[in-house]
C-alpha cells in the first residue's frame, strides 16, 4: 500500500484525527500526541497494515518545538510509514510505546538521554549513552559545552 491508501484506512478508523501530510517527507504524516499510542497500537495490529517492525524513533529540535519521528515498516506488506508528533517546549513528554515494540525501549531512552524528552510509562527511563550524572541534553540545538568547537562555515 502507498501512503494514500494507508491514510485512507487510518482516517476511517480515526475520524477525529487530522493526519496532516508532511511536505518534506513523502512517507510521513503528522498526528496528535495524545492519539499516538492508540494509533501505533492500531497500525501494529491491523491486518491490512501489519506494521510489525519499528525501524527507529528519533527527535528533531526545531528550536521553538520538538518533533518526534516514528518510522515503521511492514515485512509482510512491504510498505513504510513515518508518524510525526510535534511537542511544544512547555510539555516535553509523551506516552511510551515500549510495551508495543520492544525496540522502542532503547530508542526512547536514547531520546530521553540526548533530547530530554520524557516518556511516560517507560519501564526503565535512564540515560543510555551519556554518563548518569551528565548535565544537559547534547543533541539540542542550544546545547553548549565548554570543549565544543563550532566550525566556521
Amino acid at each position: 500500500m502507498n501512503l494514500l491508501e494507508i491514510l485512507k484506512l487510518l482516517k476511517e478508523n480515526f475520524p477525529q484525527e487530522k493526519f496532516i501530510e508532511d511536505s518534506n517527507n513523502s512517507e510521513a504524516v503528522y498526528v496528535e500526541e495524545n492519539n499516538l499510542y492508540s494509533l501505533v497500537k492500531f497500525i501494529k495490529e491491523n491486518q491490512a497494515l501489519c506494521f510489525d517492525y519499528l525501524i527507529f524513533i528519533t527527535a528533531i529540535d526545531y528550536k521553538d518545538y520538538f518533533e518526534l519521528v516514528y518510522y515503521f515498516y511492514s515485512y509482510s506488506k512491504n510498505h513504510r510509514l513515518a508518524l510525526k508528533v510535534k511537542l511544544p517546549l512547555s510539555n516535553l513528554q509523551i506516552k511510551s510505546i515500549s510495551n508495543l515494540y520492544a525496540t522502542a525501549d532503547w530508542n526512547e531512552r536514547e531520546i530521553y538521554d540526548l533530547f530530554g524528552i520524557k516518556f511516560l510509562n517507560h519501564p526503565d527511563l535512564r540515560r543510555i549513552l551519556m554518563p548518569e550524572d551528565w548535565e544537559g541534553y547534547p543533541l539540542r540545538k542550544n546545547y553548549t559545552y565548554q570543549n565544543l568547537i563550532i566550525k566556521p562555515d
Binding site: D22, N24, N25, E27, A28, D52, Y53, L54, I55, F56, T58, I60, D61, V69, Y71, Y75, N78, R80, A82, Y101, A102, T103, D105, W106, L114, R127, I128, L129, M130, P131, P138, L139, Y143, I150, K151, D153
Partner: protein
C-alpha cells in the same frame, strides 16, 4: 540443595569477550544468570551532533567510524541517502565498484565474526584461519583506497579512486582460494560435537521476538524471516544480480553461525557476477564541494553485514545537514541481550553475545 548467595559481577567494559567496551552487570546465582543489564555509551562521540557542524562531504569519513569492521557499509548508506536528497545519478561503473566493495567487506566482517565466535568458545585456530583470508581482503582494500580499516572510499557521486589495474585477476584468484578454504572452516566447527553442544538450542530468538526487538540482518534471517534489504527494497544494482537469501529455522546460535557462512558464499557469487559485468567508464561524477540539497528529508537504508544500516537526514537547504539520525543495526540487535541471557549459564553469555555480532562504535555512535 545448597543455597548459594546472589553474586553481582561486572563483565566489561574491559573484558576479552565483550567485543569492545560493552559492560554487562550480571546477577548470578552460582553459574546461572538471573539478570543481565547491559551498559553502553563508553564510545559515545556524538557523531549525530558532529554532522550538524560539517558539510555533506566532510561527514563521509565519520561514517567509517560507525561500524569499523564494515566501514564500507557506513559510507555506502550515508552516500546513498545524500545522493537521494540531491537527486543525482551516478555512473554505472561506480555502482558496480560500490557493490563489490560492500560485498567484500561483508565477507571480511563475517570472517572476523566467525573467528571471534570460535575464540569466545575457546577454539583459537578458526580465528587465525579466518584472519588469514581476511588479511587478503584488507590487502585488496589497501590497494584500492589506501586504507585497511576505515576506508573513506565512497564519495558523493561515485567512489574516490578507480579500481587498481590487476584488481580483477587478483579478485578471481582470491575468490577461488576462499572457496577452497570454506570447507576448512566448516570442518573445524560446523559438525564438531563440542561446538554443536554449545550452540544448538542455545540463545533461541523466535521470529516474533526478533520482530518485536527490531532485529535485522543475519540475526533476523536466522529466526526464519526471509528478508534482506538487497531484495526487499533493492538499492544500487542489486536487482540485476542473482543471489539467494539464506534463512535459518530455529534462531539458535548454530543457525546464526551457519547462515553467516552461507552469506559468505552468496557474497562470493555476487562479486563474481559483478566482476563479469563490470562496465567501463567513469568512476565518479564531480560535484562541487559546497553541495546544497533542497529542503527535505530522507530515510535511506542498506543491508550492512549486521543488518539494516540507515541514515535519516534532514536538510534545511543549507550547506550542512540540519539533523542526521543513524539507524545502526547493532543498537537494536543488542537490545535483546538482557532477555536472551536470563536463566542462561555464565559460559553461554559469551556464546550468545558473540553470536549476535554486535559492534560497539555503531551502538554508541
Amino acid at each position: 540443595m545448597i543455597k548459594t548467595e546472589e553474586f553481582l559481577i561486572n563483565m566489561g567494559p574491559q573484558h576479552p569477550s565483550t567485543h569492545g567496551v560493552l559492560r554487562l552487570i550480571l546477577k548470578l546465582e552460582g553459574e546461572k544468570v538471573i539478570k543481565a543489564t547491559p551498559v553502553i555509551g563508553y564510545l559515545h562521540r556524538s557523531l549525530e551532533k558532529m554532522a550538524e557542524n560539517r558539510t555533506y562531504h566532510q561527514y563521509i569519513p565519520l561514517t567509517d567510524r560507525l561500524d569499523y569492521v564494515t566501514s564500507m557499509a557506513g559510507n555506502f548508506a550515508y552516500v546513498l541517502a545524500v545522493e537521494k536528497l540531491l537527486d543525482i545519478q551516478i555512473p554505472q561503473r561506480a555502482e558496480f565498484i560500490r557493490v563489490i566493495m560492500l560485498e567484500y567487506n561483508r565477507i571480511a566482517s563475517h570472517l572476523l565474526w566467525y573467528g571471534t565466535l570460535a575464540l569466545d568458545l575457546g577454539a583459537t585456530t578458526p580465528f587465525i584461519y579466518a584472519f588469514r583470508e581476511r588479511e587478503k581482503i584488507l590487502d585488496l582494500f589497501e590497494a584500492t583506497c589506501g586504507n585497511r580499516l576505515t576506508y573513506n572510499y565512497y564519495r558523493l557521486g561515485g567512489v574516490s579512486f578507480d579500481l587498481p589495474e590487476n584488481f580483477i585477476e587478483y579478485s578471481k584468484k582470491f575468490l577461488k582460494l576462499l572457496k577452497e578454504k570454506m570447507p576448512d572452516y566448516e570442518d573445524l566447527l560446523t559438525s564438531n560435537i563440542i561446538f554443536l553442544g554449545r550452540t544448538k538450542d542455545k540463545g533461541i530468538i523466535s521470529s516474533e521476538e526478533a520482530l518485536n526487538y527490531g532485529l535485522t540482518g543475519p540475526n533476523l534471517r536466522a529466526s526464519g524471516i526471509k528478508w534482506d534489504i538487497r531484495r526487499g527494497e533493492p538499492f544500487s544494482i542489486y536487482p540485476q544480480l542473482d543471489f539467494e537469501i539464506p534463512t535459518g529455522n530455529k534462531g539458535d546460535i548454530w543457525d546464526r553461525y551457519y547462515l553467516r557462512l552461507e552469506e559468505i558464499r552468496q557474497s562470493i557469487k555476487i562479486i563474481e557476477q559483478c566482476l563479469e559485468k563490470l562496465p567501463s567508464g567513469k568512476h565518479k561524477i564531480n560535484l562541487p564541494l559546497k553541495v546544497k540539497p533542497k529542503k527535505g528529508e530522507i530515510y535511506s537504508r542498506i543491508e550492512s553485514s549486521r543488518g539494516e544500516m540507515g541514515f535519516y537526514i534532514i536538510s534545511d537547504g543549507s550547506l550542512k545537514p540540519y539533523r542526521v539520525k543513524i539507524r545502526a543495526p547493532s543498537f537494536s540487535n543488542l537490545s535483546i541481550i538482557s532477555k536472551l541471557l536470563e536463566g542462561e549459564k555464565v559460559a553461554d553469555i559469551v556464546a550468545i553475545l558473540g553470536s549476535l555480532d554486535i559492534i560497539l562504535p555503531e551502538i554508541d555512535r
